[in-house]
């Protein structure tokens, strides 16, 4: 599914947070947004998900205007936000329940993904009993089950330790072969963006503006251009 973010502006108390941001995510494309801390990345995802309306601009999904309306795209926020009151299986089925699917069927559907998401055997555990990496995978599965065609991921691995984060990045890269959704992925980790994304957008400090774009697929495997691209992005972010 295609996602088009058109000229989105948003200000808070007359201070601009987002300044005419336009981003295009093609069908099944993985787009990463890099930007300095506090530049407005989460605000952008809040707007795309429909939680807050933009001051200007439009959100088009498959050509249809979804500006300011919730319930279309999957949104995974910075924290895993699993309900401590439900075990992993029952957490993951929440989006299915909200769509009116019966509990038993929802459990069956969700459970068929457990092996791929590295959650098998932990269905009955509560979030407090699991490691950070597992909780993120559960949150990711819940996100996927809500709408599998467009996922918004807001720094999903930022709270993990370096080793677990690396494992999760590789896992996400591999799993995308079987689950080719359109993804808009926010991060401030350059390596993470270059490992995972097909295309990268770089934001300026607040107010966020797109200052650089990179087609990663064109340079993947070419170590020299990869390194110079990395340097280029680093310079833009400084």
């Amino acid at each position: 599914m295609e996602l088009e973010i058109q000229d989105i502006s948003k200000s808070l108390d007359r201070i601009y947070t987002l300044d005419k941001v336009s981003i295009q995510v093609k069908d099944q494309e993985f787009v990463a947004v890099l930007g300095p801390s506090g530049c407005g990345k989460s605000t952008l995802l809040n707007i795309v998900s429909g939680l807050i309306p933009p001051d200007q601009g439009r959100i088009l999904i498959g050509g249809e205007d979804w500006t300011g309306r919730t319930g279309r795209v999957s949104y995974m926020q910075q924290n895993d936000l699993l309900l401590p009151s439900r075990n992993i299986l029952d957490n993951v089925i929440v989006p299915l329940l909200l769509k009116g699917i019966k509990k038993n069927r929802a459990r069956d559907v969700a459970h068929s993904f457990f092996a791929d998401f590295g959650l098998e055997g932990f269905e009955g555990y509560y979030p407090d009993q699991l490691s950070g990496g597992m909780r993120q995978r559960a949150a990711l599965l819940r996100t996927y089950l809500f709408a599998s065609d467009i996922l918004l991921l807001d720094e999903p691995f930022v709270s993990l330790d370096a080793i677990t984060r690396r494992k999760m990045q590789l896992w996400l890269r591999d799993i995308r072969i079987n689950y080719p959704s359109s993804v808009l992925f926010v991060t401030h980790d350059i390596d993470e963006a270059l490992i995972l994304a097909d295309r990268v957008y770089v934001f300026s400090a607040r107010p966020a503006r797109v200052i650089y774009q990179l087609d990663v697929t064109a340079i993947r495997g070419d170590e020299h251009s990869y390194n110079s691209a990395k340097l280029e992005i680093l310079n833009k972010l400084m």
Binding site: G71, L81, L83, S85, R86, N87, V94, L97, S131, M134
Partner: protein, 257 residues
């Protein structure tokens, strides 16, 4: 090693309890204190057993009042929270009053209630509600306020209705806090009913105690106190059992990788 230390710690309060009773029993015997000043624990127990049927009748009355007041408090607390949720301005207006209401001396209100409503069931239940409602309502409100707003945003982003957000997020996540308040209320509910009866009644443990007190039957009074303690403890345990059953996610905390 650690296990035996744990058992020792668990037994400690019981040991202290038995020790206190022994000292009490010995003191009464050594100085042969008269019955109307301080009866020995053994005597209190005897009285409790010999007047068992009478005590039981009065206990049932008190328990009934306490339970009725307690249940009303829970229902009222939920109604209050419901309306606070519906109309945030109502909360602005009522919350400070709710807190101030707690500073009014309970005894004076209990007296007023008997003047207004007579010696029947109503004034007792009102006293129980006055005592129990506040901890329950506050803990419920705090529990709901404590829910991460991002969690609610997440559910909104999935298109959940307000009712769904309440049943799936706010209510379950408020339960641990709610039970903390429920426990406090359960502890005081019996005592509140007794205070209500003390101000004027024709039955119940409080009424019974005023009779005994007038006759200097200290052993009877203490027997009633024993019942009140046991009953309060029983209620707390029941609340804990309910919490154990309804909040299963807080039972264990082992981490798996």
């Amino acid at each position: 090693m650690r296990k035996s230390a744990n058992i020792g710690l668990r037994l400690a309060p019981w040991l202290v309890f038995v020790l206190l009773l022994t000292v009490w029993e010995m003191a009464v015997r050594i100085w042969s204190l008269p019955l109307w000043i301080l009866p020995a624990p053994s005597r209190v127990l005897q009285t409790a057993i010999s007047s068992f049927h009478l005590l039981l009748d009065h206990t049932m009355v008190t328990l009934g009042e306490a339970m009725l007041g307690f249940t009303c408090s829970v229902v009222l607390a939920f109604l209050l929270v419901f309306f606070f949720n519906l109309l945030p301005c109502l909360r602005q207006a009522l919350y400070p009053l709710l807190v101030i209401s707690q500073t009014i001396p309970l005894i004076t209100l209990a007296v007023l209630f008997t003047i207004w409503f007579g010696w029947g069931l109503l004034p007792k239940v009102l006293v129980v509600i006055l005592v129990c409602f506040f901890p329950i309502a506050i803990s419920l409100i705090r529990g709901i306020d404590g829910v991460d707003p991002e969690m609610i945003d997440l559910f909104r982003s999935m298109g959940a209705s307000r009712l769904k957000i309440w049943t799936m997020v706010q209510f379950p996540l408020a339960l641990p806090s709610f039970f903390a308040g429920l426990r406090i209320s359960a502890t005081y509910s019996i005592m509140a009913a007794v205070i209500g009866e003390w101000m004027g009644a024709q039955q119940g443990l409080g009424f019974y105690m005023t009779l005994l007190q007038k006759n200097f039957a200290v052993d009877g009074v203490l027997a009633a106190v024993l019942i009140i303690c046991l009953l309060s403890l029983l209620l707390v345990k029941l609340v804990e059992l309910a919490e154990y059953l309804l909040v299963p996610w807080q039972r264990t905390n082992t981490i798996h990788y």
